[in-house]
């Protein structure tokens, strides 16, 4: 069984929010109860209590255990995110202001991420200009795209469909328009697409910007 | 930054320890200012070990060593000037401080020639030589200019402080039983010295 990142992430979220909610409820309830029970009217003179070592130890130790549980959930999910399965297919992703482009092993380029259903995809991320971040909310994964570095991430397209890709690291004027899509196709359909695109010389690739930006000046006229 | 807290019309008791504490805390901020640069230096050295060695070869160890001795000696004379003042040898104290100023000045002159040579060779940001250098060397020289430049700026500030101290001693504002300002100026100068003690091996010696 391949690890299920989406599920893992949602479980971690529920665990942490669950524990948090209980603690919050406890604290809030206790506070309002005290305010009601020990109001000036009901309890005109306060009792001189200045501390209690047992309690201090308890409310240091118990939260410590709780956060270790949280850490454990987060960490084990994270390890899966970082270990791409060995049978993953690799796609190169390039971010530039303000578009994504994808390149497949056979040299086909595209501006929509076509992937075959059921095969894990490893993405190699690089940037042509400034920082971006490749984010697919539906798959609960994101990784920044940093110039001068190669980052990676992987995901598991289980269901056919269209999913949103967003740029999540602020990158200037059209940051919010730096969107793209993942198109999960049945394996045969994907293979046909890949082969046909190879023949058609990037036919499915709408107006790719191929100029990598070399000079430092003028790349970023934001006005 | 003064030991006399004057509010309205009343004087709070002079607090030398408080004043010194203030100075030390200020030195910590200076230390962490350079600390940020040292973190960068360490990181880039780690990323580009070979390039750093190559680049360091091109710095003049002799100038660096002479400058180290100059700063150490100027630190000594500041320390001595405080003793002299405590022993009521006012003019000797002034003389020692003047020596410090001279040594600090000589340090800056050396630095000036060192930078000019490098710039003469086209090694400066956006300079003609830079395009031929590896990434690591470019970063090395970036750090070199920023760190030694920042340090030189501190030398200048330190010299101004010490200049003021000379005036204060001559005017009798810093005396054998009231010399916290001189102590503080001294502390600052020693810090400048300490920073150089680290800059020197990091830039000139690590071949």
């Amino acid at each position: 069984m391949r690890p299920d990142i989406v599920r893992q992430t949602d479980i971690t979220f529920i665990v942490i929010v669950g524990i948090s909610f209980l603690l919050l409820a406890l604290v809030t309830a206790a506070m309002f109860y005290f305010i009601y029970k020990y109001s000036r009217k009901k309890n005109p003179v306060a009792t001189d209590i200045t501390g209690n070592t047992t309690l201090e130890i308890l409310w240091t130790a118990i939260p410590l255990v709780l956060v270790m549980v949280m850490f454990f959930f987060g960490y084990s999910g994270f390890k899966q995110m970082r270990n791409a399965p060995s049978d993953a297919m690799t796609v190169k992703v390039t971010g530039r202001m303000w578009a994504w482009s994808y390149e497949y092993d056979n040299g086909v380029k595209s501006d929509t991420l076509f992937v075959p259903k059921g095969i894990p995809i490893k993405l190699e991320l690089s940037s042509a200009d400034v920082n971006h971040s490749f984010y697919m909310p539906a798959f609960r994964v994101k990784e920044d795209v940093i110039p001068g570095r190669k980052n990676y991430m992987w995901f598991d397209p289980k269901e056919e469909g269209r999913y949103q890709v967003e740029c999540a690291e602020y990158c200037g004027l059209s940051h919010s328009y730096m969107l793209s899509q993942v198109l999960v196709l049945p394996a045969e359909k994907f293979n046909t697409w890949l082969a046909e695109s190879k023949l058609k010389e990037n036919a499915d690739t709408t107006k790719m910007q191929t100029d990598t930006i070399k000079s430092k000046q003028d790349t970023l006229k934001t006005k | 930054m003064n030991n006399e807290a004057t509010i309205g019309h009343a004087h709070v008791h002079r607090d030398d320890v408080g004043s010194k504490m203030g100075m030390w805390l200020f030195l910590f901020t200076e230390l962490l200012l350079f600390g940020g640069m040292f973190i960068l230096y360490a990181s880039y050295r780690f990323m580009y070990p070979e390039n750093f060695k190559v680049a360091a070869m091109h710095l003049d160890t002799l100038i660096g060593s002479v400058n180290t001795i100059l700063l150490l000696t100027s630190s000594l004379t500041v320390a001595l000037s405080i003793v002299a003042l405590q022993r009521k040898q006012k003019m000797f104290s002034v003389f020692l401080l003047m020596f410090t100023v001279a040594a600090g000045g000589a340090f800056l002159v050396n630095k000036f020639f060192e930078w000019s040579t490098k710039i003469g060779h086209g090694i400066y940001p956006k300079g003609p030589e830079m395009a031929n250098l590896s990434d690591g060397e470019v970063v090395f020289y970036g750090l070199y200019y920023v760190m030694t430049g920042l340090h030189a700026l501190h030398v200048i500030v330190g010299l101004i402080f010490i200049g003021f101290m000379i005036v204060f001693i001559l005017k009798g504002k810093q005396t054998f039983d009231n010399h916290q300002k001189l102590e503080n100026a001294g502390l600052y100068w020693h810090l400048v010295d300490i920073i150089w003690i680290f800059l020197f091996p990091l830039f000139y010696l690590i071949h």
């Binding site: - | 320890v17 030390w24 910590f28 009231n178 010696l205 690590i206």
Partner: protein, 107 residues
């Protein structure tokens, strides 16, 4: 906790500065260490170059702080301060290197 109670103790502690002799001795030590570190740079100590150079620099700075800056004889609170400051600086470096070391694995 007595370093403050009130502000009276000012200069008494200050007066026991060492004499000229000690300072000159410290200076001689510093110059000596400088010579050593420059001389060592001529040899190829491989991985040890950085370590020795930094070790010598640390010794030198200890001399300066302890003697020229009187930390040795001052109130211990200054030692505590310096310790805190250095400790925090070192944690910054160490934690940064947890990233770098594993990001650019050494060959």
């Amino acid at each position: 906790m007595s370093e403050n109670t009130h502000i009276q103790e000012s200069s008494a502690a200050e007066l026991q500065h060492p004499g000229y002799g000690l300072y000159i001795l410290v200076w001689a030590g510093l110059v000596g260490l400088t010579t050593i570190t420059v001389a060592l740079a001529g040899f190829n100590l491989a991985g040890l170059t950085v370590v020795t150079a930094l070790a010598i620099a640390i010794v030198k700075s200890l001399l300066v702080t302890n003697y020229f800056m009187h930390v040795r004889t001052d109130s211990p609170i200054f030692k505590v301060f310096i310790f805190v400051c250095i400790a925090i600086f070192l944690t910054m470096i160490v934690l940064t290197f947890f990233d770098l070391t594993y990001r650019f694995p050494l060959k």
